[in-house]
Amino acid sequence: MRLSFLLAGVVGLSSIAASAQNINGAGATFPYPIYSRWFSEFAKVDSNVHINYQSIGSGGGIRQVSEGTVDFGATDGPMNDDQIKGAKIKTIHIPTVLGAVVPVYNLPGLNKELNFSPDVIADIYLGKISKWNDPRLAKDNPGVNLPADAILPVYRSDGSGTTYIFTDFLSKVSSEWAQKVGKNTSVKWPTGIGQKGNEGVAGMVRQSPHAFGYVELIYAAQNKMPFGAVRNASGQFVRASTEGVTEAAAAAAKSMPADYRVSITNAQGAGSYPIASFTWLLIPEHATDPAKAKAMQAFLGWMLDHGEAEAASMTYAPLPKAVQDSVRKTIQSIH
């Protein structure tokens, strides 16, 4: 008797809660600008749903969603097998947009954009190429007068998805890098100096002659920084652009695993930009609150229909058509 009373109370409460749904998420900082725009626009579409997102970093996002502290997470690097095994709440990866990492440099008096081979970038950070006039750099840049000064490699000192993508790329193109350093949100850099955030790396490169670093494409584009082209798997030097990134994703989509945990660095295709990656939302497979799962499903549907089209205007690369179609099928399984 009392139990049914209590149940009636709980049902009553939850039906009130359903009328104004608060969904909390946390994770990656890289997609934060577009996520916050999407969430505020989606609130206009469905005024009952408020999605809050805190950009605490991919590591924090994975931890919090795995422990059930937040309703969804976001990450720039896919969860590894150990993390999936250890998670209390099982999640699925939903790719949302793509980002790219570009090499930046400061060579006073240079008015031409430089070309970089993947192995040259790896060897700069391994300390094996230490002068700008190294023959291998000169070979990629015929006709450019490179100075005989020491290169100052600059890297991200804070753990970041940007570093994950960059080191993932270097691990693929240089076996020595894969063996000595590997890929992670932060790694043991053989040489160079660390600066915090894209702004830290960009600031250091901008004011130190002969510095070399890497930043997100979106950061370089918004701050109008010159950046170099990188040779892709097909042997072409490609300057990063949202089209080039989406093309790399389309090339990788053909061999896309069902859980979307795929690295698209060093992708095939003449126009593919090689240092690119998906960024993912982590959605619980079985939500504790079905109403929240419904709302999240609705948001993801809206994102595919309307959100993706806005990505390019904010210098994020949208998902290729094939991936959008398969994501549409995947979100049906959320319940």
């Binding site: 994975i62 250890g86 000192s157 949100t185 043991k188 600066q195 004011q207």
Partner: protein, 349 residues
């Protein structure tokens, strides 16, 4: 020439204002004094006295509780890395999140060296500023200099960091660095490539940050030295410098050591400004131009994106290391104060 009147004749001797009857009544055991009666009427009592003492004891104990709580949590949360590396963690050089190999030595080294170098630069400067303000400064300059020193202390550390990145780093790279190599290169402290960021730059920015704390505290301590001390030393025929050394500095040395320790405390824990100019490279640097890393910086840099339990646990153990370094440094400082002050009050040596 008329002799000046003695003070006694000008100032009347203080007279007892209380009438004899009141005095006798205050002495009697049965009736409390007028003051006591007044206090009683305001609700003072033995209970309030004890209550106050207990409350203050509680406040004092809260410090123990907070420190104990921090320590316990740090140990509990870092037990994974404590179990994996043991005490080896504090002496091991290596920080590789990919292979899960963690050691705190480069960070401990960077923290201690940058802080001590900062003290080396800041303490003489701060003492000079304080001596000038209290002993030598013309009255008109006193207020502006004091005000500016305190203003320096109020600037947030991220502003110092930005200033360092945009002003100090280019100066280090183009002017000060080459100067040091040219004239002090024989010390082998200034070797390798100088990119403007590194241990020395971090130490200089730290020195600038702790300068106002040390100098304004030292100034207050020196001002607290009674003028009679100065006058006495001068009366014995001392020069101004001797007066400052014997009359002022000797008397305020405990306070000065305390001020230096407060400055050191800030230098050890400073995060933002150091992170922006130290270079964040976890190796034990052989040269002052080489990049280094500090305990506080690595936590600020890597905590939010730390994936994996061992990695997180190692970062928390870095916090434990910082906690221990602070305690050990403070203990050494206390010992130093004790050693300096054993010899009772000021004397000429």
């Amino acid at each position: 020439m008329t002799s000046e009147p003695t003070p006694q004749t000008l100032i009347p001797a203080p007279q007892l204002q209380i009438s004899p009857e009141k005095l006798t009544s205050a002495r009697s055991e049965s009736e409390p004094s007028a003051v006591r009666l007044f206090l009683n009427s305001r609700g003072s009592s033995g209970l309030a006295d004890q209550g106050f003492a207990a409350l203050m004891l509680l406040c004092a104990c809260s410090i123990f509780a907070i420190v104990g709580f921090i320590f316990v949590i740090l140990v509990l949360r870092s037990r994974l890395s404590l179990a994996q590396f043991g005490s080896h963690f504090f002496t091991h050089t290596g920080w590789d999140p990919v292979s899960g190999d963690f050691g705190a030595f480069p960070f401990i080294y960077g923290t201690l060296v940058s802080s001590l170098l900062a003290l080396l630069i800041a303490v003489p400067l701060a003492l000079g500023v304080a001596i000038f303000i209290t002993e030598l400064c013309p009255r008109r300059l006193k207020a502006p200099i004091s005000f500016l020193t305190e203003l320096l202390a109020a600037i947030p550390s991220v502003v110092y960091g930005l200033w360092a990145v945009f002003v100090l780093v280019p100066i280090m790279r183009d002017q000060l660095g080459p100067f040091l190599v040219k004239y002090l290169g024989w010390t082998h402290l200034f070797e390798g490539a100088n990119f403007g960021v590194g241990l020395l730059t971090a130490s200089i920015i730290l020195a600038i940050m702790i300068l106002p704390i040390i100098s304004s505290l030292t100034r207050d301590i020196m001002q607290a030295v009674p003028n009679s001390q100065r006058e006495a030393v001068l009366a014995l025929g001392a020069t101004r410098w001797e007066m400052i050394r014997i009359g002022v500095l000797r008397n305020s040395r405990i306070g000065i050591v305390g001020a230096v320790m407060l400055g050191l405390g800030r230098a050890l824990g400073e995060t933002m400004a150091v992170t922006m100019v130290i270079g964040n490279h976890p190796e034990v640097p052989h040269s002052l131009f080489a990049p280094g890393y500090t305990l506080a910086s690595v936590i600020a840099n890597e905590f939010s994106e730390a994936t994996g339990d061992l990695y997180l646990s190692a970062l928390i153990e870095i916090g434990l290391a910082l906690f221990l370094v602070t305690i050990v440094v403070n203990a050494i400082a206390r010992l130093m104060v004790w050693a300096v002050t054993r010899g009772a009050p000021a004397r000429i040596s």
